[in-house]
């Protein structure tokens, strides 16, 4: 019961933030240069057609009316119209959602076990050779630009060895084998820095927990070291980790722009990139809004996980 009420409270707290983001995206849409109508109509505008479009989309109305209109349409799940594709933005995004979520999800699947394993290993061997190696590897991991890593992988595995296709995407729900081959490099690109960061967090938070009094208690009562590490300390060390995992949603969504552009994956990141280039702003702003919402959902899930792990939050 406590958990449900806690969740609802956290969701309610997000409303002002979400409202702020919506407002900000509205401002962005109008601040972005270029006239979508002119763009769509090409170099020889038929004035009547342009006027018709302007009126249909309400571009001639006062700002505050447009803003209210924007809010109303958002509430109805209408993100506007793409002038490049001549389709509703929502439909476009719906189509492009799968690759982004697949790459991001796989990235988590790769990063979490590797990071937790290495991080716990580093903490268990604190200040010994294994720890120094993993610590240095972690630093190197967060210092590697992901777009450069992607280029190097393409150069190595596609051009030099011809092992993996450089670009393209197939849904793993359609052809898992081909999808796996195509997804290796994009997922590794996203997962490297993510793994390194998580690993460093795991290590430092495990080291900190191993210094807590309850660890001494467990030792004094004959609990085996392995159990202390994996049960007692890990459960406590999870708390800061959960927070980082939630915050990484944002980093990964930003990274998807780069990864999808380099590997030609038809996802939301690429849709965003293309729409900015093509000045198809309702799409760009729609994706931004969606990314932010996804991030906020991640934050709420984080908070729920936090409350689930730490009994002190639920009951307070």
């Amino acid at each position: 019961m406590g958990l449900l009420r806690y969740t609802i409270r956290r969701l309610l707290q997000l409303i002002p933030v979400l409202f702020g983001i919506v407002t900000l995206t509205f401002v962005m849409m109008h601040a972005l240069p270029g006239d979508p109508v002119r763009l769509w109509l090409g170099t020889e505008p038929g004035q009547e057609l342009a006027d018709e479009l302007i009126e249909a989309h309400g571009f001639d109305r006062p700002m505050h009316e447009q803003y209210v209109d924007y809010l109303v349409r958002l509430a109805q799940g209408d993100l506007g119209h793409s002038f490049v594709y001549n389709r509703p933005v929502v439909d476009l995004m719906w189509e492009r959602m799968e690759p982004t979520l697949v790459v991001m999800g796989l990235s988590y699947l790769v990063a979490l076990p590797v990071a937790l394993g290495l991080g716990i290993y580093g903490a268990a061997r604190h200040n010994r050779a294994g720890d120094h190696v993993s610590r240095f590897a972690g630093l190197a991991g967060i210092s590697t630009p992901n777009f450069w890593l992607a280029l190097m992988m393409i150069y190595m595995f596609s051009y030099n060895f011809g092992l993996l296709p450089a670009t393209g995407y197939t849904s793993p729900f359609v052809d898992p084998v081909e999808a796996a081959v195509l997804l290796i490099m994009p997922v590794l690109t996203l997962a490297t820095a993510q793994t390194a960061l998580l690993m460093r967090m795991t290590r430092s938070s495990m080291i900190e927990e191993m210094r807590e009094d309850y660890v001494e208690t467990a030792r004094a009562y004959g609990i085996p070291e392995r159990k202390i590490l994996l049960r007692h300390s890990f459960r406590n060390a999870l708390l800061p980790l959960v927070t980082i995992v939630g915050l990484q949603v944002s980093t990964l969504l930003g990274g998807s722009v780069i990864v999808e552009e380099i590997f030609a994956i038809p996802g939301l990141g690429r849709l965003f990139f293309d729409s900015v280039i093509e000045q198809d702003y309702s799409v760009a702003v729609g994706v931004t809004l969606f990314f932010s919402t996804l991030f906020l959902i991640g934050v709420v899930l984080t908070d729920i996980a936090y409350a689930y792990i730490d009994p002190r939050i639920k009951y307070d």
């Binding site: 002002p16 933030v17 702020g20 983001i21 900000l24 962005m28 601040a31 972005l32 240069p33 200040n127 240095f136 630093l139 190197a140 967060i142 210092s143 590697t144 630009p145 992901n146 777009f147 450069w148 280029l151 190097m152 393409i154 150069y155 051009y159 080291i207 900190e208 210094r211 944002s250 980093t251 969504l253 930003g254 990274g255 722009v257 780069i258 552009e261 380099i262 965003f272 990139f273 900015v276 760009a284 702003v285 994706v287 931004t288 990314f291 932010s292 991030f295 906020l296």
Partner: protein, 351 residues
């Protein structure tokens, strides 16, 4: 402490910020020293490029090696050689010179953008914590709004609105970074706000602005500095990514991200164009991260006491030394017999 008329003798209440002390502690951390060395080398490189570019119009580097802007179509995508250790790009420009010149852009963007984030974050965080209530709510919600949009996406939109240029890149990444700093500063300021020296300053009737910027901010700045060092790497990568995607630094200014973007199209014929600028970004970011890592460890009291291996101590030898040393010093005027000055307990016999 009594409530009335506490003199505002700040110095007595201050915790030692200890920036210098921290720096001297760093010498125990080989990682951060190596990081510092890397950064130092890069700063030299960047300073050289800047002076050479603006004062001598690239004369020095041309004389030393090659002009980073000079095009030579006959040298298009030339392999690395003695003459061009990093090869040439698609206009036949020398990669080594361009890579050296690229340090200027990368470091400038890092420092200016982090500077903007730093100042903005510190002000927002400190004001938010100090005033609390609605001010805090409003500022923190605003910061959360910024935080919710992925950094790269926000930066791309910013560049699309204001046009791609290096100055807009500064501002874009400066804004993107503000939330993190504001949060760190706020939580520091919150813990400082109720300390005694701040209470004392309030009771002494110092203006709020003075308290905020002379008492709270200086004492809470250390973690923000660590945050700055640690996020410098991220900013440099982010700015390079933006240039890589074509939204950042515009040609012909040499920039590592931009070079990588050229390298991408030429990768099959000229691997070097994509390799060397990337290595430079990696080294730069690594330098900042190594330094930041060491700084954080030094500043975290829980992390500082590292075990010294027993093997370093020869206990018997050490004991002898101790004995010799203490006996020696204790024969100084400070002998116990002369110290029985009545400050201790009188008359030992109670029985």
């Amino acid at each position: 402490m009594s409530g009335e008329g506490v003199p505002a003798n700040d110095a007595e209440f201050h915790d030692e910020g200890g920036v210098l002390e921290t720096l001297t502690k760093l010498r125990h951390s080989p990682t951060s020293l190596a990081g510092l060395l890397i950064i130092f080398a890069l700063v030299l490189m960047a300073l050289f490029s800047a002076v050479d570019n603006f004062v001598f119009d690239r004369a020095i580097i041309t004389w030393l090696h090659a002009d980073p802007h000079a095009m030579d179509q006959s040298m298009r995508y030339d392999d690395p050689s003695w003459e061009h250790p990093m090869g040439t790009d698609r206009y036949g420009r020398d990669m080594l010179s361009r890579v050296i010149y690229g340090s200027r852009t990368a470091l400038t963007i890092g420092i200016v953008a982090v500077g903007i984030s730093f100042v903005g974050g510190v002000i927002i965080g400190a004001v938010s914590a100090f005033f609390g209530g609605y001010v805090d709510d409003f500022l923190m919600r605003s910061v959360e709004i910024l935080y919710a949009i992925p950094g790269l996406v926000l930066a791309i939109i910013f560049m699309a609105i204001f046009g791609p240029s290096i100055y807009n890149l500064f501002i874009a990444y400066g804004i993107v970074g503000i939330p993190a700093y504001a949060r760190v500063m706020r939580s520091e300021a919150l813990s400082i706000r109720d300390r005694q020296y701040v209470e004392a300053a309030k009771l002494a009737g110092l203006p709020r602005r003075t308290i905020l910027f002379r008492e709270i901010v200086p004492n809470g700045i250390a973690p923000v500095v660590v945050q700055a060092t640690l996020s410098m790497g991220g900013v440099i990568i982010g700015a390079a990514a933006l240039s890589f995607l074509g939204f950042g630094v515009q040609p012909p200014t040499p920039d590592w991200g931009r070079m990588l973007s050229d390298g991408r199209t030429a990768m099959v014929v000229a691997w070097w164009v994509a390799v060397f600028p990337g290595i430079m970004i990696f080294i730069t970011v690594m330098g900042f991260n190594m330094l930041g890592d060491g700084l954080r460890d030094v500043m975290d009291p829980k992390m500082t006491v590292e075990a010294t291996p027993y093997d370093d101590w020869n206990i018997d030898e050490w004991k002898e030394k101790q004995r010799a040393a203490t006996t020696e010093s204790d024969l100084a005027p400070d002998t116990p017999t002369t110290r029985a000055d009545g400050s201790g307990p009188q008359e030992g016999d109670r029985s």
